[in-house]
Amino acid sequence: MATAVELERAHGAGHGDDHGHADHPPTSTGLDHRKLLMWAFLASDCMFFGSLIATYMIYRGRAEDLGFAPFPSEILDIPYTSLSAFVLLMSSLTMVLALAAIQKGDHRGLRIWLAATALLGAIFLGGQYFEFTEFYHEGLSLQTNMFGASFFVLTGFHGAHVTIGVIWLLTLLFLSLRGGVKQEDSLDVELAGLYWHFVDIVWIVIFTLVYLIPYDEVTETQTGAFTYLAGILRGVASIF
């Protein structure tokens, strides 16, 4: 724990409360409070998504079982969503570039890459809006069947995360334009980045479970006692 090296490092990394001040006491782990907070929050957020994904997995295939159209297999457009997934994943790259820029003190680079990340996020959201509208016109709503309910709630919850992320990025961009994001404040950008990458990673899981795994394999009615447990375990395991 408190070896000489660590105590020294802790003293060096003395960033404290919500905004770093040089005279804050050192932290015991050497990590900034806010960074640790973000990691702990993301752990909690894993459980949020875990519960939602488990719910989706439990009800996966139930629309077919009961014969309530539209079925996921006929309505999901994999090529279209692959494209918007690609856009979202690329935004992680631009996010990394934004952080790298501010760490080097490159304010112009920070603004360009922040704007690019927010734009890619906004394109993803636009794609989701279009997809939801399209599904609605094809007869799938929250109330139609279990697929509609669990699909819209899960992907909508993720979309809400992306929306908050885009607003956060735009706020950072606005602050940067007013000269409020200095090189030593790069942690502000890093925190937004941690959140953004997490939201991207969750989308990889959702995209795989909701879109990519074929639906015709789950035809038999799943009434076994362990269905719930298996669903939940699959959901949780998929996060890691």
């Binding site: 404290g16 409360d17 907070l37 459980m47 519960s51 719910t55 069947n145 309910a149």
Partner: protein, 669 residues
Amino acid sequence: MASVAQPAGHAGPATQTVARPATKKNIGFWSWITTVDHKRIGLLYGITAFAYLLIGGIEALVIRSQLIAPNNDLVSLEKYNQFFTMHGTTMIFLAVMPLSSAFFNFIIPLQIGARDVAFPRLNAFSYWVFFFGGLILSLSWLANAAPNQGWYGYAPLTEKGFNIGRNVDFWALGLQVLGIASIAASLNFIITILNMRAPGMTLMRMPLFTWTTLITSILIVMAFPAITIALALLSFDRFAGTSFYIPYIYDEATRQVVARGGDPLLWQHLFWIFGHPEVYILILPAFGIVSEIIPVFSRKPLFGYAVMVYATATIAFLGFGVWVHHMFTTGLGPTPNAVFAASTMLIAVPTGVKILNWTSTMWGGQLNFTTPMLFSTALVSQFVIGGISGVMHGSPPIDSQHNDSYFVVAHFHYVLFGGSIFALLAGTYYWFPKFSGRMLDERLGKWHFWVTFAAFNITFFPMHFLGLEGMPRRYGTYGEGSGLQLWHVVSSVGSYLLGFSFLIFMYNVAVSLQRGKKAGNDPWDGATLEWTIPSPPPVYNFATVPVVRHRDPLWEEKYAKYEGEGHAEEETLETTIAGIKIGEGQVPDEDALEQAERRAAADDEHNIHLPNPSYWPLVTALGVFLAAFGLIFSYPRIPIGALDLPLYTAAGLLVLVAGVYGWSLEPAS
């Protein structure tokens, strides 16, 4: 300088070498509204939660008065449903959890040698969100629509088809708001404990209460998301017409039952994945409090400290793998029942280890039965009774006999009252001098203890008999000649006595605040850092950041010179079980600690940096409240584009956004 900054015995601020930081107005109404001081927030939590404890107690007295006679009609059965639902919900979410939070807030920074928590404004936000969450639940009484479906809200009883009023909405939204408060507070405490320990306080030198707070906080952060999602899905069912928990509906038009595909068991799974860890969220802080008190009044270091830490962590970990034991009678089949029966019984092992360690701490000690010690030893004995009936429920065949009977009611009151409440009372007597500067009266305290102890057993022990004789849980009545009345009468009389015991307690607090003995820094000859500073502590807690060289730093400070006389035993960082070494702590580098000490001394040259008071946590919390309120009272509505939002929700979201921006753009200190 010795290992702790201020040697005990020195009175008050005279020993402080620093200029007292400029504190503007620090009394008055608005200073409490905008406070970010962990001690004040702790007191706010404590006072609010105690008020709810009294409300929950009155609800319990109504229940007991209804059941004192067969076919009683003191309250209607519909109202009775509301009373038992609100009793459970109030006691769990508005009394015991926030009372634990009060201790976390006040004590943890003092125990780890910190001047505040890691995020003071987030801490204020947690309190205000808790306050508003409690307000939502309480408003349900005024709207004549208190929740009526039982504290675990089983679907489909909670669905619109069975529960058309706003009762369930108050409950779902109230719990949702309380969940935000709990998660925010817990994130704060995880970071505070991991990151703000005084130099030299390694993880394995943290006081046990700090350990249980850390582990409880991790449990909250990992368990609450499950109920948040469960409640969100329920709200979708109620507000948006989905059917997550509805298997079938009756179609008026075609006069047919139509399959919807939802499953009420999903609610039970999600609820108990939260609900079982919640049990440990309620009891682990109690274990921590008792683990602080028993060593001090036995004049011995805690027996098996490291094993105690591991046992706490094991209980928390296993707590996520036992939820199906709440569902043995739902027909999941023999395999899951067997697996979860085994994991349930496994939890008895680390819990038994704790009981053993407390008794071993007392063994051969110089026992001093002050009021806190009396309550702590009562916890050890009463929790064993509740624990053993818990192991009985862990067996599916026995559980199917006990399920939904008063036997279960007896069981969880023995663990929650005989466990959590006894420990919270012990903690109140133990730390009251630190909160207020004055001691609680010992004579009244002993009266309080013995009346509580007797009344508790008179109230809850007969419930075992009632359960075995067939009294079902949650029934507001029973037949004449059913043979149940005797024990119901005994239990009700006990409950009145239990209510009376709280009057003694409140009288004691009122008298002692005025005329209690002055406490001084260290009235109990304590072992931990909170006893090195004045009572009540100055706003900055520690004038000089302490440096820790021992697991019981203050005992080492006071008694190291008497080495060999049995007080501060040589600290060993090795952990052994039956002579076999299972772990080894890292000994901190002595040079580094000396550097830290020099740095702490140098820090004193400057004024101590304290966070400023802030309105933004309250504003943000108000936004959360309005948004939730709008979902319950969904009129008037305003259309925004394609959305048709309730007015209060729209306003709440605006206030929320304004609060978040005001908060993040305001300098923290």
